[in-house]
Structures are given as structure tokens and as C-alpha cells.
């Protein structure tokens, strides 16, 4: 009897393991493998010469360089901005610190390509509102600032990416044992010396880890460069992949260039993730301990209110101004008119919500795709995480390796891989259907689900499950009655972590859309490209409302779970 039960358990374990491996192989591994295959395998043999030939083409070479330049600039800028604001809200007596801390996280909600769109409306050399204002009112000959430039792209990316560093450094500074700094103080060191010799070195791993995250994101980032760079011929890796695939309708040469570039992205991403693991592993000091008194606080004295003013100005310029411009332009009769009441109405919003087939389809597509992807990925993620975190079966190591893959595969790579895998070459043709986008979303967001679910599962101590088994519950019963209820918050987090970003997804959908399968992101982007700026802005405004509503619901729900 017990031997039989054990055999059943083992079969079930192998079934779950097999299913988990199958999901990751089909959704992530096969597309990535096909990219490498297409890049390095030509006419039946391994061919590295062609790869270098592709990389030496001026366009590809320039795109690689641009990705590096933009990512480096963005990383540097975000690190400085993020660390400075984190220090300001945790270690000084800045007024309204708590509130400002919340405000600095708002850029997380704003999709950077919508931000880029807003800055284009403000600072494009000819039509930008700010540039025109200066030229008209002050009679300047040339625009104040040209957003279609490296500096413009980097500035916009910094505005919307710096929270990655900010949140990491804030967390480290808040968790840090204050007596580490007090010990330095009683040793005779002043606040400046403490900051330089104790505080900064101790949070350096967090700063670097946030910086690498931004590097990874920016290298593979499509939206901002697509909106602001293409005008002036600035392409990075993802935009060049898009350009090639899009224009040549899948010719061999363009696929080849695309796969080579995508391989470069995957390899750099893997390298960055490896580096991040190194940094965190080496620097994981145990700096959290003890009873916490308030940490040493720098008195800003005369700078207190000017600093607050600076923060408010920063938020105003980077968040409020672009958002306002999006909504205002979305209300205009024609792009370029001044913002006076006779030019403004809700007509565009009504049109795109109720009459315009393209935008109505896009909203419906994004919502259904988001729900479906979130639902599937949430359940797949909890199963895979369960095997990785909790089960003791042979062959788990392979699954762990596969589980790492989604983290290092950027969106544009996934899109390209999915095209290679599901365009009929291997028996299934999903191209030009909404299904291919769904498959790509699942691959793209699997990382979020794995992260949230394994974090939740690690909280569930093994003894809780063993206690259920000791009470006579079988493996499935234990899963259903003990494990699932306990990880429900993690699953819910995973659901929203996928659903919300998918509402504004652009990188993947732009490569995969067909005329009837536009998503919100694609519709905003293409409307803007086609010169329908006011409709593009109105749809962006609606997307922002959707995202803000969703985020508010999540905050409510997670507050309920935590407290």
C-alpha cells in the first residue's frame, strides 16, 4: 500500500517536472535556440565568418554602438539621479520625505515610450511646444533643444528608468543597521566622512545591481529609441531588428541580420545577469540587524526647502508636464494648435473609444491578451517554481537552467524567436494571428511569474507540507489545501505584474501585429508614425488611465494582504 502510494507520488512528480520542462522548452528555449541556429548555422554548417560579416556592416555596427552608448548614458544618469534621490529621502531631513518617496516611484507606472511621445510633442525641433514657445516669444533662431538626439534619448530613458536604482538604494539604506553609522560617529567621524567611507561602500552592491538592471533594460529597449531616434537615423539593436524584419517582410538576409543582433543581445544580457549575481553575491553583507533607532540624519538646514523645491520641480517636469501634454494634445482638434479652450474637446477620446475600429480593436486585444497571458503565466509559473523550490526529483537542474532563460531574453529577441518558430516552418502557423502575440507574451512575462511565485514559495516552510502529509494528506491534497492558499498572494502579485505591463506592451507586439491584431502600444505607435498625433495622444491618455486604475487596485489589494 505505502509502496504503491510512493510510486504514485513519484509518477506525479515526474509528470509535473516533465510538464514544466515542456512549457519552458516550447515557449522560451525553442525560440532562443532557433535564433542561435539561424545566426550561426548557414547552409548546413557552423558559420562564424558570416556572423562577423553581418556585424561589420556599417548599419549593424552602428546599431550595436548606439545600444551601448545609449545604455551606458542611461545607466550612468539613472544611477546618479536614483542614488541622489534615495539618499535625500532616507538620510536627510527633507520635508515630506514619505510623500516624495512615493512620488519618485510614479515613473515606474509611466511607459517610457509614452513619455518619449510627450517629449517629442514638447521638444521636437520644429513642432515641439517648448521649442516653438521660445522661438516665437523670444525670437530665437534655432530650437532650444533637439530631442531627436542621443542626449534627448538618454534624458528621456533616465526619467523613466531611474526608479530601478532608486528603489534598490532606498531599500538598502532603510534596512541598513543604523549602528554601523553610529559606530563610525562615536569613533570620531563626521557625517561627510561617514557617508563617504561607511554608507556608500555598504550600499554599493545595491547601487551596482540597480545600475546593471537599467543597463539590461536599456540595451534592449525599443520604444524611446523608436519614437525619438529614427527621425535622425539613430537605431539601436531592437529598432534595427524591427526595421529589417518589418521592411523586408521576412527575407533571408534580414532574418539573418536580425538573428545575429538578437544573439548579441542575449549574450550581453546573460553576461549582465551573471555580473549582477557576482556583485550581489560578493557584496551581500549582513548589514541588517539589531534594534532599529532612527538612522543618522543629515540636517539640510538652509537647503531644506530649496531641496524640496528641486524635487517637486523634478517630478513636475518629468511626470506632470508630459502627462498633461499627452492629455491636452489628445483633446486638440489638430496637432499644433495652441492649448486654448476653443481648440480642446473630448471628441477624440469619444472617437477612439466608441467609433474608430482600429483603436477599439486595440483596446480589446490588449485587455484580452493581457488577461489570458497573466492567467496562463501565473499558473505555469507557480507550477514551475514549485518544482524548482520545493520538489526533490532528478532532472531538476535542467529545469533550473531553463528557468533562468526568461530573465535573460529581451522582448525583441522573443518576438523574433517566436516568428522563427511559429510561422509554419515547423508545422504550426500562428503568424498574423493574435495567438502568436499570446505565446510571445507568455515567454516575455514568465520571468515575472517565476520571481513572484518562487519568492512566495520560499516563504512556505517545508515543515508545513510535511505536517499535512503526516496528517494523512496526499501530495495533491497537500498542494490544494496547504500550498496553494499560502502562495495565493504571490500568484496574485504575478497576475498583476503581468497584466498591467502587457496593457502597454510595445516591443513584442510591434514585431508581431497584423492589421486586426494591433495592441494598445502598437496603435499608439503606428498612429503617431502615420501623423495622427492627436488620436495617438488620446489613446495614450486612455492607456495611462487604465494603468493608473490598475495600479491603484493592486496597491489596495497588496496593502490588504500585508496588513
Amino acid at each position: 500500500m505505502s509502496a504503491l502510494a510512493k510510486k504514485n507520488d513519484l509518477d506525479a512528480a515526474h509528470f509535473i517536472l516533465g510538464l514544466s520542462i515542456a512549457i519552458l522548452v516550447i515557449v522560451v528555449a525553442v525560440p532562443v535556440l532557433l535564433i542561435f541556429l539561424n545566426a550561426f548555422w548557414a547552409e548546413g554548417k557552423f558559420n562564424i565568418v558570416d556572423v562577423f560579416a553581418v556585424l561589420r556592416e556599417p548599419d549593424t555596427y552602428q546599431a550595436l554602438l548606439n545600444s551601448l552608448i545609449i545604455a551606458s548614458g542611461t545607466t550612468l544618469g539613472s544611477t546618479v539621479v536614483g542614488t541622489f534621490f534615495a539618499w535625500l529621502v532616507t538620510r536627510t531631513d527633507l520635508p515630506f520625505k514619505k510623500f516624495m518617496r512615493g512620488m519618485f516611484l510614479v515613473p515606474f507606472m509611466l511607459p517610457s515610450f509614452i513619455g518619449a511621445l510627450a517629449w517629442k510633442m514638447l521638444l521636437s525641433p520644429r513642432a515641439g511646444y517648448i521649442n516653438r514657445l521660445f522661438m516665437d516669444v523670444f525670437g530665437l533662431e534655432a530650437p532650444v533643444f533637439n530631442i531627436y538626439s542621443y542626449l534627448g534619448i538618454v534624458a528621456v530613458e533616465v526619467m523613466y528608468l531611474f526608479p530601478f536604482v532608486f528603489i534598490q538604494v532606498c531599500g538598502a539604506l532603510e534596512r541598513m543597521d543604523p549602528t554601523l553609522e553610529e559606530a563610525a560617529r562615536i569613533s570620531g567621524a563626521g557625517l561627510f566622512t561617514i557617508t563617504r567611507r561607511i554608507t556608500i561602500p555598504l550600499v554599493l552592491p545595491s547601487i551596482l545591481s540597480g545600475a546593471l538592471l537599467i543597463m539590461l533594460y536599456s540595451m534592449a529597449h525599443f520604444g524611446t529609441v523608436a519614437v525619438l531616434g529614427i527621425e535622425n537615423g539613430i537605431y539601436n539593436i531592437p529598432t534595427l531588428i524591427y526595421e529589417r524584419i518589418h521592411q523586408s517582410a521576412g527575407s533571408f538576409a534580414s532574418i539573418r541580420t536580425g538573428t545575429v543582433l538578437a544573439s548579441v543581445l542575449v549574450i550581453s544580457a546573460a553576461f549582465i545577469i551573471w555580473l549582477q549575481g557576482k556583485v550581489l553575491g560578493r557584496g551581500r553583507y549582513q548589514i541588517i540587524a539589531g534594534k532599529s533607532f532612527r538612522p543618522v540624519e543629515l540636517k539640510l538646514r538652509a537647503l531644506r526647502w530649496p531641496m524640496l523645491g528641486f524635487c517637486v520641480l523634478y517630478i513636475g517636469v518629468t511626470i506632470v508636464l508630459p502627462t498633461a501634454v499627452i492629455f491636452l494634445v489628445g483633446g486638440l482638434k489638430t496637432y499644433g494648435l495652441p492649448f486654448v479652450s476653443e481648440n480642446l474637446s473630448l471628441a477624440n477620446y469619444k472617437f477612439i473609444l466608441f467609433e474608430y475600429q482600429v483603436t477599439k480593436d486595440a483596446i480589446l486585444n490588449s485587455v484580452t491578451l493581457g488577461l489570458a497571458a497573466a492567467f496562463i503565466t501565473m499558473f505555469a509559473g507557480v507550477m514551475i517554481s514549485y518544482v524548482i523550490v520545493k520538489m526533490k526529483v532528478r532532472g531538476k537542474g535542467f529545469l533550473e537552467f531553463l528557468g533562468m532563460l526568461p530573465f535573460s531574453v529581451p522582448g525583441s529577441v522573443i518576438a523574433l524567436g517566436v516568428i522563427l518558430a511559429w510561422s509554419g516552418k515547423y508545422g504550426v502557423n500562428l503568424y498574423n494571428t493574435v495567438w502568436i502575440i499570446l505565446v510571445a507574451y507568455i515567454a516575455r512575462y514568465m520571468a515575472f511569474s517565476l520571481k513572484a511565485n518562487s519568492a512566495a514559495l520560499e516563504q512556505v516552510h517545508d515543515s508545513l507540507m510535511e505536517a499535512a502529509r503526516a496528517c494523512g494528506a496526499g501530495m495533491w491534497q497537500t498542494l490544494r489545501d496547504i500550498v496553494l492558499p499560502l502562495v495565493r498572494p504571490g500568484m496574485l502579485a504575478a497576475f498583476f505584474l503581468i497584466f498591467l505591463p502587457s496593457l502597454r506592451e510595445l516591443t513584442v507586439s510591434i514585431m508581431l501585429y497584423a492589421p486586426t491584431t494591433r495592441t494598445i502600444g502598437v496603435a499608439i505607435y503606428t498612429l503617431n508614425e502615420d501623423g495622427e498625433t492627436v488620436f495617438s495622444a488620446a489613446l495614450a491618455g486612455i492607456a495611462l488611465l487604465l494603468i493608473i486604475t490598475g495600479q491603484t487596485i493592486i496597491n489596495r489589494v497588496s496593502a490588504k494582504y500585508q496588513g
Binding site: 549602528t179 559606530a183 560617529r185 570620531g188 555598504l202 553583507y285 548589514i287 539589531g290
Partner: protein, 353 residues
């Protein structure tokens, strides 16, 4: 003239008075402990001496030098006070080697390279850390980390050493060992110690004098022996060592009763000054009670547990619980038996004192 002097020191956090007009005089070379439950104000007091907290009233002087004073609106920041301090969670910097941790206060003071080397060497020798000087403190055990913290505090050869529960993050067996090490270091360097702890045996073993504190108010300042033998009130008695409290009612004839009816014998009558104080607490230590046919009253054994060296008895008398501890070689009653108990050293306190 005492060395460390706190006069009327008061600290409030919002509406809570953490320390209420505390007066304290600590001699040079003395080991002075502040003992009390968490939240009693002992740590706040230490942090005011260190300079991490300003005070709301009063002043603090060390060696005649003014450190904090409300009336003169003077406050010297901690980095200028030249104290050594050891924290509960070690607070050893993980990004610096053991040597650099210890040398840090000397480097801050911009001493010559030769002097930094000599003093660091000396502090490391005194704490047995010479072998691990170039290691990262991350690789040391809890005891090792606390030695680094001690060496760092010693390096500037301070007159006053502030110790904030320095042993409570350590394993029990290490704690005892470190107590003696701290004591030895004090003998060698001659600094005064202000020691904050909630562990009474630690305070007993180390201190010349102990301050017992409750809710920001001093309960007693005395030698360890007097704190144990002559507790000032019920709180001090209960905080130090194991204890029994029996509530008794005084009877009009000067005796008292456990159950409100039968009087206790004359030998166990409350002291005169407490006779009109209402209900009283009769306090004893479990080790200071004998089983005796000529006992003060009788009690019934409800539980008997063998704890190794000692046997622990739980009894009831007049509906109240009584605990007795006896050496295992002393014969005693079994569960269910009723026997006489003799209180060798009874204390009397007002019930609500």
C-alpha cells in the same frame, strides 16, 4: 567629584517620558550597569551619554567637561566625545578588514602612521585578534565580531566605555567567557564602563554598582549584593532572580492571612509600617524555602520536576501557587502530599507597589 555626572536628565519622545529626571554619578574606573526590561529607558540614557540623543532637561558632564546641557543649550556631537562604544549587533564594518575596522578611529584622528600601527596592534593583541587582522570580519564568528568591536572601541584608549547590550547577540556559553574578557580589559586599561543590559546575571557578574530602571524612573542604585538582598521595592525583587509572590491580607491583630480566614503565625507578621497599607505581597525566593514540620503554613505539592542539580516543586497554599527549588540531595514530598513550608527570608511589599 564623580567622573560621569548626569543631573536631572529627562528625555521625552512625543508624549512618552523615556527618562524622567535621572541623577547619576559614576566614578572613574567603575563598572556601572543599567538594568531593566525593554523600554525602561536604559538604552535612551546610554544614547544621551553617547550623544546620539539630545536631552530635554538637565545636563551631562564627563570629567568636568560639559557634554550636553539644556539650560545652556549646549550639545556636543558624538564624534567629539571621545568615548568607546560597543553595540548589540556588533556594527563591525563588513567592507573593511579587521585591522582597518580597529584603525578607523585612529585614522579619523589623523595620528601618525607609526602611532596608528602601534595602537591598532595593541588593541588587537588585547582582544586576541592578531591572527585574523587581515581577514574580513564577515568570516568571524559572533564572538569574533564582538571582539573586533571591542578592539575598535579600545583603540583610542577612551576614559569611558559605553556598552549597549554587547553580549545579547552571542551564544550563552560565549557570553560568560566575554564577560570576563571585558572585565580583564577594564583592569588593564582602567576605563569606566556604562553597561546596558536586560540580563541580570550579566549585570551581577560585571558591575560594581547596578541601576534598576522601570518606565524611565530609577528604582534602585546599589551594589549587586544589596540589589539582591535588600531590594528597594517589589519591582526590583521581581526583576532579580526567581520569585514567589503571595497576596495576603493584614488582620486587625497585626498578623496576616493567606486565605482571609486563618491567620499566619506571629513569626510571619508584616512589618509595622505596612500594616495599614491594604493588601500586601509576601515575597520569597524559591531557593529560600524549607520543607519543615514546623513550617509557617502548609501547602500541597501539585507538580515535581527534576531539573538535574535541583528539583523544582509547584505547590498550592490557600489557593495560591508557590514554587520551591531544592538541591536534589534534599529529601522532599511527592505530588499530592501536604507538608509544612518555612520561609527562610520573607520580604513584604505593598500589593500594588
Amino acid at each position: 567629584m564623580s567622573y560621569v555626572r548626569l543631573t536631572n536628565v529627562t528625555k521625552r519622545f512625543g508624549r512618552v517620558t523615556a527618562v524622567n529626571s535621572l541623577n547619576l554619578a559614576i566614578e572613574k574606573g567603575e563598572c556601572f550597569s543599567m538594568l531593566g526590561p525593554s523600554g525602561c529607558g536604559k538604552t535612551t540614557t546610554l544614547r544621551m551619554v553617547a550623544g546620539f540623543e539630545d536631552l530635554d532637561e538637565g545636563e551631562i558632564r564627563v570629567g568636568g567637561r560639559l557634554l550636553s546641557s539644556r539650560t545652556r543649550n549646549f550639545y556636543l556631537p558624538p564624534e567629539k566625545r571621545d568615548f568607546g562604544m560597543v553595540f548589540q549587533a556588533f556594527a563591525v564594518w563588513p567592507h573593511l578588514s579587521v585591522y582597518e575596522n580597529v584603525a578607523f578611529p585612529l585614522r579619523i584622528r589623523k595620528l601618525s602612521a607609526a602611532e596608528i600601527a602601534a595602537r591598532t596592534q595593541d588593541a588587537l593583541t588585547s582582544t586576541n585578534l592578531l591572527k585574523s587582522a587581515q581577514d574580513s570580519p564577515e568570516n568571524l564568528s559572533g564572538g569574533g565580531k564582538q571582539r573586533v568591536a571591542l578592539a575598535r572601541a579600545l583603540a583610542i584608549n577612551p576614559d569611558v566605555m559605553l556598552l549597549d547590550e554587547p553580549l545579547s547577540s552571542l551564544d550563552p556559553h560565549l557570553r560568560e567567557e566575554m564577560r570576563f574578557e571585558i572585565k580583564d580589559l577594564q583592569r588593564k586599561y582602567g576605563f569606566s564602563i556604562i553597561y546596558v543590559t536586560h540580563d541580570q546575571s550579566e549585570a551581577m557578574a560585571l558591575s560594581d554598582r547596578i541601576l534598576v530602571m522601570k518606565q524611565g524612573v530609577v528604582q534602585q542604585i546599589d551594589s549587586p549584593l544589596n540589589i539582591y538582598n535588600k531590594p528597594a521595592n517589589k519591582f526590583v525583587f521581581s526583576f532579580i532572580g526567581l520569585h514567589n509572590f503571595l497576596s495576603v491580607n493584614p488582620l486587625p491583630d497585626g498578623t496576616a492571612s493567606l486565605d482571609g480566614q486563618r491567620p499566619l503565625p506571629e513569626a510571619l507578621a508584616p512589618p509595622g509600617e505596612l500594616r495599614d497599607a491594604g493588601p500586601l505581597s509576601l515575597a520569597t525566593r524559591p531557593s529560600e524555602i524549607d520543607f519543615s514540620t514546623e513550617g509557617h503554613f502548609t501547602a500541597t505539592v501539585t507538580r515535581k520536576s527534576f531539573l538535574g542539580e535541583i528539583v523544582d516543586y509547584q505547590l498550592t497554599a490557600g489557593g495560591q501557587e508557590l514554587r520551591i527549588q531544592k538541591n536534589r540531595r534534599v529529601p522532599g514530598p511527592e505530588v499530592g502530599e501536604t507538608c509544612g513550608v518555612l520561609l527562610l527570608k520573607p520580604y513584604w511589599f505593598g500589593e500594588n507597589a
